[in-house]
Symmetry: C2
DNA sequence: ATAATTTAATATGGATCACTATTTAATGGA
DNA sequence: TCCATTAAATAGTGATCCATATTAAATTAT
């Protein structure tokens, strides 16, 4: 961790990560198409040219904001899910609870930022939609990998369709996120999770 | 059914219901914000003033297109769900399968048109979002009412939290619709449903 | 035929969209 | 001090957004 050596030239008024955090929140609340560059520059307190020199384009900024948010919070969630000393069932439960609770910041929207992002979209935004779809697919594969491990470790029946099971709990995350958009509180989301967990096909070693 | 008595004046080139069907499909694929009035007029083969004289505004058209689609297809689905000679479990299964299959028309998108509509949105579209959220809530209440009946008829335990159960299967529909947007086929959606049905807390009289 | 009625087409309005060419300001180094 | 460097601010760009005032066309009634 270097001390930020001041380069020569005019100093930046906006920290890059602060900007990404603001952008991520706006995109999360309003969606990609519902967030204008004017919204973004206003929220960041900068002028349009600054936004474009820092982040490239609206689409580039969206990618960077997603990467930044995922890197920051998905790391914790992945650790919960992959934790080697937790049975798969408990890891899944804590993983889902974490999504229901959302960030520690109270004004931050609950649910998952990518699970319902850019589902319907204008043709011109197809590339953005492909990106979010790929992130969702990756999330499904992460769940599947954990379930495959559970099969190997005898926590799930050997004939378990782990792919289908991953897409089922992926659907739960997507449904939770949709209902969070509609204002559902986290206790309500956790009731939803509790029901979803009764579909767990393996033994419960809790 | 009256024969369409020709009124005097220039005849319409576009049938109202044909226009609503075209609009519904576009809004479904691209979302409310992702569909422009230019997209709509082009697809209907009309000019902007015709669209506004027939439907009022973009938002009015969206409401009418949703009402039209719901009236046409939700009637069948409601009949499946409310069918008096079907156990609640089977009614629910057929109801969900119907959503997974989508319309008979092959090019029509699968999933539910409202379950993931206008979740994130610009502030200026808040009223549209409130409408779709209200439709989703109504759909949840429809499920809950069916489950309440199932409790009365002894198909579900008396202590069943029917509200939570309705929101769980509502989440399934939302997750299905999201995955359908990402290209999931109906057999994959049905596998998802089959897992969700294992969370059914009552007896299976099938 | 002419009028009355209804709808369609032309042409465009103001606002906002994502984005940028140019100029100005603020720093460190020589 | 003066320059090189870096970033911010000004002031827009053409395109597209939703919507409409006005005119032209197509029909029935008289």
């Amino acid at each position: 961790m270097e001390k930020p050596v001041r380069k020569r030239g005019r100093p930046r008024l906006l920290d890059r990560e602060v900007g990404l955090d603001i952008a991520a929140r706006l995109f999360w609340e309003r969606g990609y198409e519902g967030t204008s560059t004017a919204d973004l520059t206003k929220a960041m307190g900068i002028n349009p040219p600054t936004l474009y020199s820092m982040f490239g384009s609206k689409e580039d900024l969206y990618r960077q904001a997603l990467d930044f948010s995922i890197a920051r919070e998905s790391t914790r969630r992945s650790q919960i899910l992959q934790s080697s000393h937790l049975p798969a069932y408990d890891a899944l439960r804590l993983y889902l609870y974490d999504i229901a609770d959302g960030d520690t910041q109270p004004d931050k929207p609950r649910g998952c930022m990518v699970s319902t992002a850019v589902l319907q979209h204008a043709e011109e935004n197809a590339s953005v939609a492909r990106m979010t779809a790929a992130l969702r697919e990756a999330s499904m594969q992460t769940l599947k990998a954990r379930f495959d491990r559970a099969v190997e470790e005898g926590e799930l029946p050997t004939q378990t369709d782990t792919d289908a099971l991953a897409r089922f709990y992926g659907a739960i995350i997507q449904g939770m996120s949709a209902q969070a958009c509609d204002g559902a509180c986290n206790t309500r989301l956790k009731r939803l999770i509790d029901i979803a967990l009764t579909a767990w096909p393996g033994e419960l070693r809790t």
